[in-house]
Symmetry: D2
Subunit: 345 residues, 4 copies
């Protein structure tokens, strides 16, 4: 394959950044207390506080679904519900894990470009105080969204104000938080407590880790039950140091930023490259590392032969291309060339 | 510390075997399909079938709790119950994850040395057909048990016969299956389908992996729902190849056997070394890699100062020492010497 | 109040039909086996079979939410989902009981007039076979719908064919099944197995009972787990005979039909009476015993002063008037006169 | 049958007290708001406060399992556990409803005569603060117990002190609270807040009602979520007035006391009558309305031919006889005569 094994199917098709692998190997010395009472996890905790503020409490888990569910569990009772964009991962792509584990209803709110607004939430937050209705308790936003768009800190703050003013809380699914921070030109921490976020899931896997996510609790006192919730949610690693080491690598020397910046740049390059091709239309703003497009008839299948990627919406034919931290400019350019051939562009 | 950082607290305090780490690094080439559709996972699947039989279907998960819960979910409806030894991990050490996720009652059966028998099960399996009672559906045994003992293949087969004769199924928690197989002088597969086991959890983490467990479904057709169950249980890894690689390393060239044999030998050495010390009593047969003992008054705390380990039962003062794959004879001998000093032996 | 205590708020504001009360009193003789092993429940079972077919198995429960959840539980595993109209009771008005007890996602499908169609279902049944998505397993329709409309037997059969052709099942929420049968001019049984329904909830409470609902299982073998599911769902009455007696009364001498026919007739009378009033618009077909309307500005509050009823949709101002089995023509006419006064009609 | 249809199988085999039936009929006037906003429920609420104190909040539900689960839900998060006697109804006879709905582990503590003590609880409340263990949060006692014994107010207070001193709460399953209060010579209220109980289930069904139980919340603020919990637990009656009327009848003019006193007296008479018969041994103190006994070989089956009753423990052959509010002295004496015949006494 001319793309050297690198594709645009998902940023979780990429491998592990060498520095992350090195950090894992470096953690492999002698015995260490299990379940997080080890020095490497201690170092990760310090780094989480450095990035997200001294009050932040981080709880490392295995995967994004686990991070979302564990974080949401710390905010919800079963008769309460989560309001989220209809395209959100927790609503669509987690095989009902939130409903199953939380026992809560997840209410999908139709949201253009994957982004909630106070106005959309006003229409969705019905039945408050009515014993027949699930009670709105948490707003969950994705940053970046499933559609590759980002909330500005001000947009987040407006949603947080909306939520907090109603006694509700703000959850953020940050499976691609690094990409969003880079896109917005801000720090990771800027997208947390200062923006009114109460609990967030911070994803390292798509940012160059092997498999490492964290629940970061920002609201004071919000973490007290987390150790039990994490364990009961089957998300507590015994040899924790090897998961923690991945965060240590990414949160040191701005590796998280370099990886995300490169991925975003590759998405931008790809979008720019295909933008003028006949019949190719970019359908969402390209703000992070995803490109959504419609293609001329017959092109999708042919392109997939060379480059695996997902048709995002079978109804409309919209396709998704994700840029990983390890793509090269050559990978992108070759992809663009191939699409140009197919479209006659 | 004279024990060079290696302790007897738990076999999950050990690090990663170098061959496992090498396998992970070797898997880090280019992009690969996520969620298990990659060649490394394919190779792991082949190895699982080689060890557990052609009909075996393996589903890789993150940790032991996840492996147990996912496997049990494939066998249970919510009004059914699991009969297990009262000391079983699923009954005691999983923070209620089985009850939470399965919605099922876990019935702990008092079991000497941690082992169930048909006789014990007869007494526990009450209320069959009574709509007011949870219905016994699964017997879950631990191999090796939490108390370091093992079921012989014949003992397993007797339990399986008991269960199958009543329309029930047999689950095996094999977090330390490798240690049991070595102790019993049999293959991994001998402890599966031939012994009547329907579904087992195979643990690699304590056998030298970084963090890798698998649900191995042995009963025909039993795996059809597993992909969905695993995902909903938050146990599906996106970059699966790096978890699968750990199994590839352990299941190739008998690394699993070498690691377990060494750990068991170290436990035997430890038990033999302390057996004659004044006031030290071994309280369960030492069959795998665990040693349970009672110590003279005042000794436990002093010994823990040098060697972290768990008091297993606060009431009786029984302590547990676990032997890992990476302990050395010197580690063991130094520990025995220290205990001899403290007991005046 | 000129309406003699009878209102249009809900058909569960009505009392108990005298024949039902008499049947309860008649059952109060001596002791009887509890939990349904009594002669009155036996008689109810015979009547259920007479109405719904010899293969029907009825399980009496306490309320409509219980009937829906218990019935759905017999058809679902937790990673599966229910497709239902977005206005359905299970989606909106059960405080998340289905998600909580089933652990399943309930997918609300936007449905005009509250009715699903194969076309609407085609668009909603996505992700089949994809382990990241909940798997469509049950279509649940309401008969009559929450919006007072009815599915014809042919419409039901088309949905059943759609579902069965995909390995799915059809559930029917018949909290107002009697009203629908009368509206459609068919028997209760015609809306069950012959229309392809697998499991239905049959509501007696709104049909003149005190509090009695039943899960009626129509698919062969579908009832085997129901006793356990019902008990675990907290829906098993100890003194069952007094709930069963209510069904005996309604299912004997067509009391169910007389009550429903009268309620429907009152709704029709009401709709006809208000149809010509200035600014009053009926917004859904009046097929059963519900009338949905929009009113001129300022009228709703004034009318509610005399007659409690619900504003169905705060956004659009649509109001709902329900006709009960015990309304009189005078009740309806007085209501129409009052609305005429308020609208200047 | 010489016993006129009245048996000793269970106090839920009895019918409805005529005054209860009359109260139901009296409530059947015109329309009333549903779901508890009606005057009859208002009257029941006043009576609950009169009996249980001004701070008590009562929430009427359908059955005992519902009352227990709803009450416990108001006190528990899923990673917490309930400590209860191993013979408790919530542990044995609710088909796993607590585990299923709460997601919590129910820990059965071996308890002679069905009664917990601080000493027994000390041994059971392990793992506090250990993230691998479910966290003890609620002690649940049954009053009267499943074995027919009662806790004195002082015994309750000692358990409450034990629980509250550890940040835990005290739940009381009062399916037979009336029988216990009579046995102890105290009021219903004496067994609530003054004894340190935080939440109790008050059973009317076995006390002469048709089907009516209530969650009575005694701890300040403890009822705030109850309306939602009750609805989500499928325990909210639409025509609530007819359930509330049953409480009105029982809590007025001491009907609850008369019914329970009579039932207790019949149990005492029965126990006294059989005590001297050859080979008949009463195995638990007869304090409320239950008698547990062992019988000579061969007698149980013969006696059951005439009088249905339960063998409580298949292993030991212990049988249970329950006395209902509507038994007559003749019923009891005939039963004793029959047993005397069978035992040759």
């Amino acid at each position: 394959m001319e793309h050297g094994g690198r594709t645009f199917a998902s940023d979780n098709c990429a491998g592990v950044h060498p520095d992350v692998l090195a950090a894992i190997a470096a953690a492999n010395v002698g015995h260490a207390p299990s379940y997080g009472d080890d020095p490497v996890t201690g170092e990760a905790d310090r780094l989480f506080r450095r990035h997200f503020g001294d009050a932040a409490q981080a709880f490392i888990v295995f995967n994004g679904t686990g991070a979302n569910v564990v974080g949401l569990q710390s905010m919800l009772r079963p008769f309460e519900c989560v309001l989220t964009a209809d395209s959100a991962h927790i609503n669509v792509d987690e095989c009902g894990a939130p409903e199953r584990f939380l026992g809560c209803k997840v209410v999908g709110v139709p949201a253009p470009d994957g982004k909630l607004t106070p106005g959309l939430l006003d229409a969705a937050a019905t039945g408050v105080g009515d014993q027949h209705r699930v009670q709105p308790r948490v707003v969950s936003v994705s940053q970046a969204t499933e559609l590759g768009t980002c909330y500005s800190p001000d947009e987040l703050a407006a949603i947080a104000e909306w939520a907090h003013g109603r006694g509700m809380l703000l959850h953020l699914d940050g499976a691609r938080l690094a990409n969003a921070a880079v896109a917005l030109g801000c720090s990771l921490g800027d997208l947390g407590a200062p923006a009114g976020v109460d609990v967030l899931a911070f994803g390292a896997t798509k940012n160059g880790a092997m498999g490492a996510e964290a629940v970061v609790v920002l609201r004071p006192g919000g973490g007290v039950d987390l150790p039990f919730i994490r364990k009961q949610a089957m998300q507590l690693a015994s040899k924790m140091r090897f998961v923690a080491a991945q965060f240590v690598a990414l949160l040191t020397d701005d590796l998280w930023h370099r990886n995300a910046a490169h991925a975003n740049a590759m998405a931008t390059r790809l979008a720019a490259g295909v933008a003028g091709l006949p019949g190719v239309e970019i359908v969402h703003p390209v703000e992070a590392n995803a490109v959504f497009a419609t293609l001329p008839d017959g092109v999708t299948g042919a392109l997939q032969t060379d480059y695996p990627f997902y048709v995002w919406d079978e109804g409309t034919g919209v396709v998704r291309w994700m840029a990983s931290f390890d793509l090269t400019e050559e990978d992108v350019d070759a992809f663009v060339r191939r699409l140009a051939e197919l479209t006659g562009g």
